[in-house]
Symmetry: C2
Subunit: 541 residues, 2 copies
Amino acid sequence: MPASPSGHGTSRTRSWWGWGYADSHPDDAECVAMGALLPGTLARPLPIPRVADLAIARPGVTPPSSLAHLVTTDPEARAAHAMGKAYRDIIRALRGRPGRVPDLVARPTDDREVADLLDWAGGQGVAVIPFGGGSSVVGGVEYRGDTHRAVLSLDLTSMDRVLEIDTVSRSARVQAGALGPVLEEQVRPHGLTLRHFPQSFEFSTLGGWLATRAGGHYATGRTHIDDFVQSLRVVTPAGSSTSLRLPASGAGPSPDRLFLGSEGALGVITEAWMRLQERPRYKASASVAFADLPRALEAVRVIAQSDLSPANCRLLDPGEALLSGASQDGSSVLVLGFESATGRVDDRLANALELARAHGGRGGAPTANGGADSADHDAPADAAVNAWRSAFLRMPYLRDGLARMGAVVDTFETAATWDRIPALIDAVRTEVGSAALKATGHPATVNCRLTHVYPDGAAPYFTVAAAGRPGEELGIWDDIKAAASDVLHRHRATITHHHAVGRDHRPGYDLQRPEPFALALRAAKDALDPHHILNPGVLID
Amino acid sequence: MPASPSGHGTSRTRSWWGWGYADSHPDDAECVAMGALLPGTLARPLPIPRVADLAIARPGVTPPSSLAHLVTTDPEARAAHAMGKAYRDIIRALRGRPGRVPDLVARPTDDREVADLLDWAGGQGVAVIPFGGGSSVVGGVEYRGDTHRAVLSLDLTSMDRVLEIDTVSRSARVQAGALGPVLEEQVRPHGLTLRHFPQSFEFSTLGGWLATRAGGHYATGRTHIDDFVQSLRVVTPAGSSTSLRLPASGAGPSPDRLFLGSEGALGVITEAWMRLQERPRYKASASVAFADLPRALEAVRVIAQSDLSPANCRLLDPGEALLSGASQDGSSVLVLGFESATGRVDDRLANALELARAHGGRGGAPTANGGADSADHDAPADAAVNAWRSAFLRMPYLRDGLARMGAVVDTFETAATWDRIPALIDAVRTEVGSAALKATGHPATVNCRLTHVYPDGAAPYFTVAAAGRPGEELGIWDDIKAAASDVLHRHRATITHHHAVGRDHRPGYDLQRPEPFALALRAAKDALDPHHILNPGVLID
């Protein structure tokens, strides 16, 4: 039974400073209870920040009358568009120093208005930051620097309609500003789903997913949104680009692949034809415990290299398993799930369990409290799974609560080929744990789960938590981030599997990116954004 | 039982003017017999052309002594590197007018030598045409124009080794000049396969596949070589680009996707880490006949939209089915094949046959003479399938024989979403048939098969054959090609699904490509190839 998307269509207020809805934040008592789990945190939570307490400058620019109706200078709106939702952003808000607040927030309703806003901004030297759901955890939607006369946050969420549905080819033309639930609501009556369920599902948009190469479809194989794109429409300062809607093509380098992952630096993605799927009708899942993480990794690799194609195949290390309630005995836990719209999947689950047991896995009962890294609103109406899903969706709120208690909490993710995975996980645990201890003076927890697996590798996701030092959170965060970036680079793992580069990952990205590709990308930027107004500092200086 | 790759390691001589091996060409009697099938063709075949009869100019440039050992000016080598293997190329050879023959042919053995050759050519204004197996059917490996002082054909086939194998992650680092059989021979001892089997398998290289986004893996899903790339090494005039070897990443636009499909215009792909697969052990196949092509298309669509993932799912229209011996009664024939390295596939075949029968399919016995569009050297050792595979590999030789008889024979391929497929196939048949009749004065055969199918669309492959008019073949070919390009454009189908753009598809490609992407691509070209020496005229002017 599909759950109704939380809050869409309601009058619930989004938090300007923290994750999600303002009324979903943990209260002070909850914060204190969480803080007690991390010795050295504050006795009382930092107060929830208020926009009225921020020193927000008057807008440095006035839009022309022809565009005035699209633009607001309301302080609440400007503050809510000043940053994303990384730990770093939460701290800046809690400390009342959000950084550069945009002068203007524009909400265009069609491509023409987007183009007009870009034209005006280009002529005025105004930086334009495309903004979808604002859930970036990598500094992707803020302005840093001082080379632009003013900053305009381009909020696409007024462009949120599904414009066409082709049920024969199972695809839809969707405006980029549609939040996850808004998109799914419009395709559900046709029996279809995009089935893209990142943790930010409620608070991120199709355009944001495309611009950042989001992950979230499946735990194996085609998880990135890239693979579900038939065509893109992108408004650039040099003109609008509409690619031909195709199932596949071999005509030159893919135009769409240049804009996928371009993070707003080359143009504003305004709509896309997306591949949809029939809603799954058959599901089966189970969890398996492993006494030994290396053997669990072997089991996952063998399953990923089979042709069983689990929709879910998440491995939780002992710390993750403990926190999520999947295990209390120090085991690692593998959560397996299969689904299909056309036929039963029990056999595939049985085959996968057999492979897991051959590598030391124990158990295999239907999962009660799993580790699915997805906000899938169509998961079976199993009470325990629903409970876990709620917890998963609640995690970022809890992080904000811990931040209010002075804790340092960060997550980062990567991917590497299987030959490097065991040593990479060990090194991250050791080195990032040491860096966090050194930076905070407190012991740190470093947990790991595999969120996505491939025949040739896996994507480990790490969570670091420690008590911090009041007032020094950003420096501590920088030290931990630098240590993480360094260990990923030395182990030749990507700086990001699905969180994107933004501004926070630029140093690691610059090390990873081949220099000739950087030359080509800069040249493309010069050609498409000659005044360099689009999301300055992201990907390209 | 794996067949041994035909001819690799033997001393068989490649044809300088036609497909494949010189000793595989049909003899004059076979040509006459084939010509009899197309009324209006010549009574006797045109003679096989000889290099000695060509007016090959002396090289217009001399390489420096440091590079002289890599370079040949041998007329046979120069003639063999003057063109690809399109019908258009065969005619030009038969008429003794191959166009601009390269001044030099270089065979570098490592990246340093490739870079040195590019440096020298850039300084001298010498055009460089990267050359793999030379099997281009779109004018991808020749020089047209007169703005360069000389032309160097850069033959990569001396770089043909598998440099590393990672059996844990199932991947290999392979030099770009490895022909299909040469690559497979080196990974087979590890139980692995790249499993990329285009029709040109014996006569095309990994680098060529990557530079042209070749298709050939599977009939469904991930067929393009793109999806099997972990990382690329590309030597450009602006420096060498090596991407990080990863199973997946979300770090900015994919560097590899800019070079995939760049057709030698941005750099020379010299090696790649490729995803391999375990060799399949379980196979099952069957063919189904349909009285009605539209219902057959429906059946194929439903199967493509299931999660059954056939490795082979080729639909032959009545003409194709007749020619391939799959049917004599005017039926369309669907050939289904499943394979797995890990488990039996009979159930999946049974489920697919059930779907086919629900849409009017008849039969379903194990296939005797199918339509697999693949040169898979590991297909089961079934005599009929082997016979078909031989016929498939022989087709380009037969085309050359028909060309010697004055026939016009061309193939072209495309892809479109399912909603457009039936009308597209009808229109191509009608309009290209009319254009061929008008151009040749003879009735033309236009046959169609679906070589690849996707949940959201399909890739139709067309073959046009008619008697021509001696001496006017190229003009006739141009007229037919223009008609085909026009109908594809009007039906919003891609100008190529896997044959690439080259020079022959430039008009259709230019119509299809969004202008802002063209701007970005030209800017990237200027940055990476500032002297514009790399494959001039391909993709970008």
